[in-house]
């Protein structure tokens, strides 16, 4: 399967795992199951995973659809540089995060899903993929009017006085107040 970017699927899987960890954790904490501290950890881990995985990375080929409102988190995730860019780091991180949640039945589903996400990230890392942030497009600069050939505005725009009075008037006596300073080429 030639050009698959596994990281994209790993990202979806990890995001789903984060949500499952949070849900399982909330159930166990709310109902005070035995061993609920693991569930409290699972909620924290789940929230962290969700925040980390929410900003979608940029695809190598083609345009990438951003998730709603992801630019704020992209800015945060970008700061960590190589730690968040490298998928080996993510694979190991997710595997490590998944382990403590495996001690409680409520959160073990989250463990399984996060472990699978970690495996897919490992595959992505082996194939050399990287997380690149989706940059916001700057508004395009307006091209200079007339292709840059207009350097100076006309020195005597209409309404012009009749021909006799137009001849070689010194600039100070011109009837026109030029808003932009103008140098006369005639002299």
């Amino acid at each position: 399967m030639g050009r698959i970017e596994w990281a994209m699927w790993a990202n979806e899987q990890a995001l789903a795992s984060g949500l499952i960890l949070v849900a399982g954790g909330i159930v166990a904490v709310a109902a005070q199951f035995k061993g609920w501290p693991f569930a409290a950890y699972s909620i924290a881990a789940g929230v962290f995973v969700c925040l980390l995985e929410y900003p979608r990375g940029k695809r190598k080929k083609g345009s990438t659809m951003e998730r709603c409102g992801q630019k704020y988190l992209t800015a945060v995730v970008k700061i960590f540089g190589p730690v968040t860019r490298n998928y080996y780091v993510r694979a190991i991180l997710h595997a490590a995060l998944a382990v403590p949640a495996g001690f409680l039945l409520s959160t073990i589903l989250g463990t399984a899903c996060l472990a699978i996400a970690s495996a897919i990230y490992l595959l992505a890392a082996i194939r050399g993929e990287e997380w690149n942030p989706i940059e916001q497009k700057k508004p395009p600069e307006r091209p200079p009017v007339g292709g840059g050939t207009i350097k100076q505005p006309p020195s005597m725009p209409p309404p012009r006085p009749p021909v006799e009075t137009r001849k070689k008037q010194p600039l100070e006596e011109a009837a026109q107040e030029n808003p932009i300073p103008v140098t006369s080429e005639a002299e």
Binding site: I4, A16, A23, A31, F33, G62, L105, I116
Partner: protein
């Protein structure tokens, strides 16, 4: 609102029925497990989590039964053909099969979540009851019948186990975890983004449904959820006897024998057996059809990386706008991809135009471009019907194709040409408006000849007003517009060489719709689209807006192709 009803009454009825059945099943079984005397003692151990788990299980069975049905393409095709009454409305609704499939899938996910949470509580409370040694009703109930007879209530035997251990050593627990993981993988790989960009991941992962159904059928075999048996209820009435559990089995007033419990039999198989068999039959049929020999009679490479394949297969018959699934074993042995047929039924071959849009298509185009002495083998399944079959049933038809989405309409226009030549009486259509929206001019090339020959044909037979077509170039830039302005006075269009001038930018649908409505105030107009979702929304809006509630006046019906 009224216009929405006119266009959508049938799917609304189906969805309402489905939703109603779900609600009914959930509420009925919830109340059953929450009130019935049979489960009195089970509720002592589990509380209302029992009812939540069982009610959601029933709904899961119901939805698992439904989810396989919309993807049985051949069955749906058969239904389309067999529907002789309400043909137009019925056929249109079968387009929504994939939407229904997704809706049912989301419902399965929702009920799975409810079911799992309820059973998490159940396992925890079973465990607590087993470990409690305080002589309470729960602990007495848990200790009953631990002697190897099958009359116990609490499935947990040991005093020193954890719910996790129990889950993984019992059949329902283990199968439950496995099928949930399979379900989650299926869902994450079918997210729109993944599906559109990496179809292969979606297609292969989705076959995990085999594990899902196998696990579902096995899931209830162990019968861990139990209720009091009928014979036991005769000798032991829970309301009276629960007050004094230490005196069960002894001589006392009121006399209470020890209660005995039996399991609820596994019933998932009853729900899903028929759809599984139908689906198996569907896949066997697809395989059989694919084994029939397909001869590639002509291969044409068009500009903009569009490949045309003309093929012949014995016994193949099609109608306009249908699509086929193509497999090329030398490119990928297991993948099947859908393509709309671009040839008319009257032609001796059938053809498809394939654009490079991903791994598989690019590989296929490369394979054919290499021009090996032996053309690669192609397998075909189909044809399957979609909305375009109905084009000739409408008096007036508006056909909108965006980019490569024009392919079904290529078939329609060619068919019109042939029907004209043979003065076919089946043609009920009196007027066709055709809109082609495209980004770049290169993609026009292969369609040009068709339109040019149609133009000529219409002029020769004097029916120049039958087909009204407009071409829109949405990806124009200053130089193209400049050229068009420069050549404004020419007879033929500078871009396409056709008599009809190319317009630039997107069409203004309000203007178009009101023009059609004015020109045909008493007709039923069919609007057919093959293109992006955003366009579908605006066309649908216009259909609602310009349809009149009065059945004698103009009505727009919207049909969308979906892939």
């Amino acid at each position: 609102m009224g216009n929405w009803v006119v266009n959508h009454w049938f799917p609304a009825v189906v969805i309402a029925a489905w939703l109603g059945l779900n609600v009914f099943l959930f509420v009925y079984y919830f109340l059953l497990f929450d009130r019935d005397k049979k489960y009195y003692y089970t509720r002592v151990l589990l509380g209302s989590a029992l009812a939540w788990a069982r009610a959601s299980a029933k709904c899961l069975n119901f939805n698992s039964m439904l989810i396989l049905l919309p993807v049985c393409r051949n069955l749906l095709s058969f239904l389309r053909g067999a529907c002789s009454c309400c043909r137009r409305t019925m056929r249109k609704q079968l387009d929504h099969n994939l939407t229904f499939h997704k809706l049912v899938a989301y419902t399965i996910a929702l009920f799975t979540a409810v079911h799992i949470i309820a059973h998490l509580c159940n396992l925890e409370w079973y465990n607590d009851s087993q470990q409690a040694a305080d002589g309470s009703l729960s602990s007495i109930l848990s200790d009953l019948h631990q002697d190897g007879s099958n009359k116990w209530l609490n499935p947990i035997r040991s005093n020193s186990t954890t719910p996790a251990y129990v889950a993984f050593t019992t059949i329902p627990g283990l199968t439950g975890v496995i099928i949930t993981v399979a379900l989650i993988l299926m869902i994450t790989s079918s997210m729109e983004f993944i599906r559109r960009s990496y179809f292969e991941v979606f297609w292969y992962t989705h076959h995990l449904f085999v594990i899902y159904f196998a696990g579902l059928v096995i899931h209830g075999i162990a019968g861990l959820v139990r209720g009091q048996t009928a014979e036991s209820l005769k000798e032991h009435s829970p309301e009276q006897c629960a007050r004094d559990p230490t005196h069960w089995g002894r001589e006392k007033r009121p006399h209470c024998e020890k209660p005995e419990f039996g399991s609820i039999p596994a019933e998932s198989w009853q729900w899903v057996l028929a759809p599984i068999l139908l689906y198996v039959f569907e896949r066997v049929l697809r395989f059989w059809r694919s084994q029939q020999r397909v001869v590639v009679t002509k291969v044409v490479m068009h500009p903009s990386k569009v490949l045309e394949l003309q093929m012949h297969k014995k016994g193949f018959s099609m109608e306009v706008g249908q699509y086929i699934f193509i497999n090329c074993p030398s490119v990928s042995r297991l993948e099947w991809h859908p393509f709309t047929l671009t040839s008319a039924p009257e032609e001796e071959f059938f053809s498809v135009h394939i654009r490079a849009a991903g791994d598989w298509t690019e590989n296929l185009i490369d394979t054919f471009q290499q021009q090996k002495p032996k053309t690669p083998r192609i397998e075909v399944d189909g044809p399957f019907g979609t909305a375009s079959e109905d084009v000739f049933q409408y008096e007036v038809a508006m056909l909108v194709g965006a980019g490569i989405g024009v392919t079904p309409f290529a078939s329609v226009l060619k068919s019109i040409w042939y029907k004209f030549q043979h003065a076919d009486q089946r043609l009920q259509t009196k007027k066709i408006y055709f809109y082609w929206l495209c980004r770049d001019t290169g993609a026009f090339a292969w369609f040009n000849d068709l339109l040019a020959s149609l133009e000529q044909e219409m002029e020769e037979s004097g029916k120049a007003g039958f087909l009204n077509y407009r071409l829109f170039l949405t990806g124009w830039d200053n130089s193209i517009a400049g050229q068009a302005a420069f050549n404004f006075d020419n007879d033929t269009d500078v871009v396409t060489g056709l008599k009809q001038k190319t317009s630039f930018g997107r069409p203004r649908w309000c203007t178009e719709f009101s023009a059609v409505a004015t020109a045909h105030p008493r007709s039923v107009v069919g609007v057919f689209l093959c293109g992006p979702e955003a366009l579908a929304k605006s066309l649908q809006k216009c259909c609602h807006q310009y349809s009149s509630l009065d059945p004698r006046k103009v009505k727009f019906y919207f049909n969308k192709e979906n892939f």
